[in-house]
Symmetry: C2
Subunit: 404 residues, 2 copies
């Protein structure tokens, strides 16, 4: 839980592997994240679903706001697949504002003037928490594919250890979208007594066949890149930039909607109004997608992408509870607000309704909000006034109920 570098646990850039090449910008950040880091030694391993006790390991996190004396105003923000702990802080690689500053901040629905907000980089990722790019103490090299498969439950267990570390027994609110929403559901199922209110957004209690299919295409694109080198590219000082870029381009389409793409780009050409009769990025949508691929590669580790997509694929909260989703929430006292967006085809409203039905069956207090939006899945990251007002109402009520 400090910022001092710890060579045993840092991520492994090529330079660490003794090749003498300079670490890339994103690897430098992963090596020495511009955020606090909590370190867990051999005495506090992470019990992983793959049957491995991971030790040592570290969790990079960030906070905003102040923990009150009663320690009753803590909020956990859970990030999505390619998110990180920079939810309310400028990103050290891209220089962009925090990814959820629209929702979290002074006077915002998750009000940092009132609440103490924590967000940690999930285990298996690459922004300072232990993952496949970290050094395997057994070999002195990056784990690569020797890193154990990570599950959503593993991420939540690590977050719980972080909260213990920070002296936070329970959460006023656990909130997140997409893969973050999966973590919220897992929190409510695994530690119901630690979650007063839960807000899973644009998510599902399990990943659909179509979503698994899209993820598999992305993984195959990465693994098809010779620079991936069976996952050992960090040893070689290379990176599978083309494969990861293609994976990101394909995934990015699924985060938007046909309506949003039509509105933003339509069939407009890049320069002038005529086709060039070539394979150049004639259409604006092509140029935009290529940019998405290129910029992603600057900030994300390819193996981490494999691991986190796999974690989402494996997520199936009903299967973990005898095939009945309601069993995941039996006896819960957590209050829920489930939110979906009309144009989200990655996690359509039907997925949220299935969660709501299960919560109803478990007699849990639940509000359901379907936000009218044409922005697709990524709407949860964007300026959606209806989302903000619904979140504010739910969170304010939870705070009042808790005497805040």
């Amino acid at each position: 839980m400090d910022n001092a570098p710890d060579t045993d646990l840092r991520l492994a850039p090529a330079a660490e592997a003794g090749r003498g090449t300079r670490p890339s910008p994103e690897t430098r950040q992963a090596l020495d994240p511009q955020s606090p880091v909590a370190r867990f030694g051999a005495d506090r391993p992470l019990a992983m679903d793959a049957g491995v006790a991971l030790a040592p390991f570290q969790i990079a996190y960030h906070t905003a706001g102040t923990l009150n004396a009663e320690r009753s105003n803590a909020v956990l923000v859970c990030h999505a697949l390619t998110g990180d702990q920079y939810f309310a802080h400028r990103h050290p690689v891209t220089g962009k504002p925090g990814w959820w500053e629209s929702l979290v901040g002074p006077g915002k629905p998750v009000d940092t003037d009132r609440y103490f907000v924590v967000c940690s980089n999930v285990v298996g990722s690459c922004m300072g928490s232990t993952g496949p790019a970290s050094i395997d103490p057994a070999t002195g090299r990056a784990y690569g594919l020797d890193f154990p498969l990570v599950t959503i439950r593993d991420m939540v267990r690590a977050q719980a250890m972080l909260l213990d570390h920070l002296g936070i027994r329970d959460l006023l609110l656990c909130i997140g979208g997409s893969m973050g929403g999966m973590q919220v559901l897992q929190w409510a199922a695994l530690y119901p007594e630690r979650v007063f209110a839960a807000m899973p957004i644009a998510t599902g209690a399990r990943h659909s066949a179509q979503n698994i299919a899209f993820h598999e295409v992305g993984r195959q694109a990465i693994m098809a890149d010779p620079a991936w080198a069976d996952g050992r590219y960090l040893d070689a000082g290379t990176r599978p930039a083309k494969g990861l870029g293609v994976a990101r381009m394909g995934a990015h389409i699924t985060y938007l909607s046909e309506a949003a793409l039509h509105r933003k780009f339509g069939r407009r050409f890049q320069a002038g109004s005529a086709p060039t009769f070539s394979f150049n990025a004639d259409f604006q949508i092509e140029s935009y997608l290529r940019h998405q691929g290129l910029s992603f590669v600057e900030r994300f580790d390819a193996n981490a992408y494999l691991y986190l997509t796999r974690a989402m694929d494996y997520f199936d909260l009903a299967a973990d509870h005898g095939g009945v989703l309601a069993n995941a929430f039996r006896g819960t006292r957590t209050r829920f607000c489930v939110m979906s967006f009309t144009s989200d085809w990655l996690f359509p409203t039907a997925d949220s309704r299935a969660i709501v039905h299960a919560l109803n069956a478990a007699a849990a207090p639940v509000a359901f909000v379907e936000v009218e939006s044409d922005k697709g899945h990524d709407a949860f990251l964007l300026d959606e006034p209806a989302m903000f007002s619904a979140a504010r109402g739910f969170i304010d009520a939870a705070a009042r109920a808790r005497g805040l």
Copy 2:
């Protein structure tokens, strides 16, 4: 218009390029297609939208049924992106039945006991018609990316030259799905006097931004494969199998529907019922997709895939007619049947409705059929009784109106 090999125009396998390697199965078929071939010499070039006069060139085609004495019973079937002339004949590479035997054959809606049915491999493809894998007479090597960009209109012009060659002045029916439907619309717009009845299925009068985006991801996957070698892989005797496989996997998802994927695969595991905690194809959907990628590579040329996806992206029939789609059909006497499928999200019903509205505005006779199906875009290739009965009714009526 004969089957004899013509070395000037054959596709270029590595063996042709003097490397001494054996041509792959698919290249052998492309070299010497098991179907008739019409050859057009320097005196009959193809005027292409890219501004090139392509000569010489050849069109591989297949037929079923018998042309009547009045030459009034001809039907043109237009194939989709990865289709070919083997619409009613066993595929020479895969050994599978013709791709549209469900709709075309003796006693079928397109009844080969009554009609003479022609289907040609589109220009730019790789099953015997001239395309990027053909020998460039200027260099003696495969065209590769030196082949001019192909448009849907170029495909239709080449088909018209083939029909001239076959002595067919006009068509009782022009029918096709997806990219084949684009050709049907282009036929009706370019040669209205040659088309008595037109049936565009599961298609659009222009490609949407989202569809362009999916195509661009596929192209980037191919071009990211080092074996693609800037399109010169045939010279080297290699092929970008991994890139093309990834492109196919991604595209294949868009041909299905979430409901179909859920019904066929759900979240079922390959072996047993537990995750293996690895990147193996744990889920049946992953194994299925990998198979789709692998088998496609055996029968299709990567550069042809680039060219044909580009042709679809460029297609915009309204833009070709002053921005007003109805202008494409002004004064037409062709009768239309436009068909869509409820679960097709690649060419949703809205795309078909836009065609119908334009035909209404042009005062063209048009029937519109939306088939209830959960099979997604590929429904037009599958067993859909409602499609068959609607097609039969439309085609029978057209034949009666023509005195057949």
